[in-house]
């Protein structure tokens, strides 16, 4: 039964990172590899505030505000590349990932640090399943963020407008939709999700410059597995991948733990190109 908890909490990590990437991808078509490293930086920012003796939730709140600003600034950086081919934008965001990682060390050092969340120590028991409270919080928050995102894209004026821009940029602008301005909203929201991810994930492990290297790859695979165009697909893909990894880690030699799940993802995509829940995109006219 511990395997279930471990599967879900590993999946939650991938989901929280992947959902931030998916928001940006859905709205702008940019694949933001840097999302993972933004999670790291924002975890460090939260940690610094805690060390300056801010109460936890005040520090968390300020971290989110900072994230919003950082996301908007990021859009200013990424915007010129927006109309470039995905290869170029992916290269740009991947470079940003590495630059941010190298910037962390001189500021916060390379040693792993502990982020003391109020829920860091504790245990939840659900039936026969035992979860650390850090794991439980991560799973809950991942599900909440996915639900919030789904509602945003289905129900709100801005969410619907963003989907329209993806469908038909020219027609959307004729409706008075300003895609450039919405970019600020999108990048702000994605980075806020990143900050939430940092605050929720750090108590499960430690805060370190490379803490997101492996989860970023996992989130990427989860997006491919579940389908990047629906938040529920991202969540499902992340949980599926978390499960595969946990089971592989339990029954197989540890060197297979990462390779086997990725191979399984590829096998799924051979059958369903858009991922488990992803639809085939209607081609643009």
């Amino acid at each position: 039964m511990e395997l279930v908890g471990l599967s879900l909490s590993t999946g939650a990590i991938y989901a929280l990172v992947g959902l931030g990437m998916a928001v940006i991808y859905q709205a702008t078509g940019v694949f933001n590899f840097a999302q993972g490293q933004l999670v790291t930086v924002l975890a460090y920012v939260g940690l610094s505030l805690l060390r300056a003796h801010w109460p936890f939730f005040a520090a968390a709140g300020l971290d989110l505000v900072f994230a919003q600003g950082a996301g908007m600034a990021l859009w200013v950086l990424v915007r010129p590349f927006r109309t470039r081919p995905p290869l170029v934008t992916s290269m740009a965001t991947l470079s940003l990932y590495l630059v941010l990682r190298d910037l962390v060390v001189p500021i916060w050092g390379a040693d792993p640090l502990v982020l003391p969340a109020p829920w860091a120590h504790g245990e939840w028991r659900l039936g026969g399943m035992a979860l650390s409270s850090a794991q439980g919080v991560a799973i809950l928050v991942a599900a909440l963020v996915a639900a919030g995102m789904a509602a945003f894209f289905r129900r709100t004026r801005m969410g619907i407008a963003l989907r329209a821009v993806r469908d038909h940029p020219q027609a959307a602008s004729l409706m008075g939709v300003d895609a450039d301005r919405l970019g600020f909203v999108v990048f702000g929201a994605a980075t806020v999700i990143g900050a939430v991810a940092g605050l929720v994930l750090a108590p499960m492990t430690v805060v370190a410059p490379t803490m997101m290297d492996e989860p970023t790859l996992g989130a990427f695979a989860a997006l491919v597995l579940g389908g990047i165009d629906t938040p529920w697909g991202v969540l499902l893909g992340a949980m599926g991948l978390g499960g595969l990894e946990t089971v592989a880690g339990y029954y197989l030699a540890s060197i297979w733990k990462e390779a086997v799940p990725l191979l399984a993802v590829l096998a799924v995509v051979v059958i369903r190109a858009g991922g488990l829940l992803g639809g085939e995109e209607v081609p643009r006219a």
């Binding site: 619907i160 469908d167 004729l174 409706m175 008075g176 939709v177």
Partner: protein, 260 residues
């Protein structure tokens, strides 16, 4: 009144429009006819902010909007229904309609939104049962109705229609043109770009022949239909642009239906 004064426009270094001037009054239909590549769609793009003119002035009800972004044009009361319909295929019909009122959505309550949707459904009842369906799954005719309906959601005083009959069955074309007549009667000014020249001229109050970015002939729709140059260069019998007997009969029916 929508006033276009000596507009030059093009894409990059090339110039398509070379000094186009025309006016569109509320409650009238103005047709813009001409061969492919004459610059008809380019005229519409400068009138909705998609394209910034290189020279010239465009004013809506006395307010100059030259070079302003599309959002400003929608707010000023101009709706552009683009060529090829361009409905949002992955969105529902209802969401497509709502986006038509995007620039006003923030200040519209749920009831007012609903009222606007119902106004459009009164004009295009076929869309009623399709509200929850993805726009990409509609037929071509329904997509054209949706594209026009989406444009009407902003409650425009000026409607720019780019090739509304393109690829449609005759009875659907008839529906669309009947709607054009009703909107005109309600006081909407309609600038109609059509490859089906006879049809457009049959319903137009005023019409212009656009050739290589220049307006060469202007007059009432009937005058252009009877004009030797227009018939020879553009509607000529036996030319590839000949509409054939069927659309002519349709045009005749429409003219009668619209009281022309």
């Amino acid at each position: 009144m929508l006033t276009v004064q000596d507009v030059w426009a093009g894409y990059g270094p090339s110039t398509v429009l070379q000094g186009v001037s025309l006016t569109l009054e509320p409650g009238t239909v103005v047709a813009l006819v001409g061969a492919n590549g004459a610059g008809k769609s380019t005229v519409l793009k400068t009138l909705s902010g998609l394209l910034r003119p290189q020279r010239g002035r465009i004013a809506v009800d006395g307010r100059e909007l030259t070079g302003r972004p599309p959002a400003d044009w929608v707010r000023a009361g101009v709706a552009h229904v683009p060529e090829g319909r361009q409905v949002f295929a992955n969105l529902t019909v209802a969401d497509n309609l709502l986006l038509g009122a995007f620039s006003a959505l923030a200040r519209l309550g749920p009831r007012q939104r609903q009222e606007r949707v119902e106004e459009v459904l009164a004009i295009f009842p076929d869309l009623g049962p399709k509200l929850g369906v993805l726009a990409g799954s509609l037929s071509g005719g329904q997509q054209q109705m949706l594209a026009i309906g989406r444009g009407l959601m902003s409650q425009p005083r000026y409607l720019l229609l780019d090739e509304p009959s393109l690829g449609l069955a005759p009875q659907v074309t008839e529906t669309i043109f009947a709607v054009i007549g009703r909107l005109r009667d309600r006081g909407v000014g309609i600038l109609l770009v059509e490859q089906n020249g006879r049809l457009a001229l049959a319903v137009a109050d005023r019409a212009h022949l656009l050739e290589k970015g220049v307006i060469t002939v202007s007059g009432t729709g009937a005058e252009l239909l009877a004009n030797q140059t227009v018939v020879e260069r553009y509607l000529g019998v036996g030319s590839p642009l000949d509409d054939g007997p069927r659309p002519q009969a349709l045009a005749e029916r429409l003219r009668r239906a619209l009281g022309r």
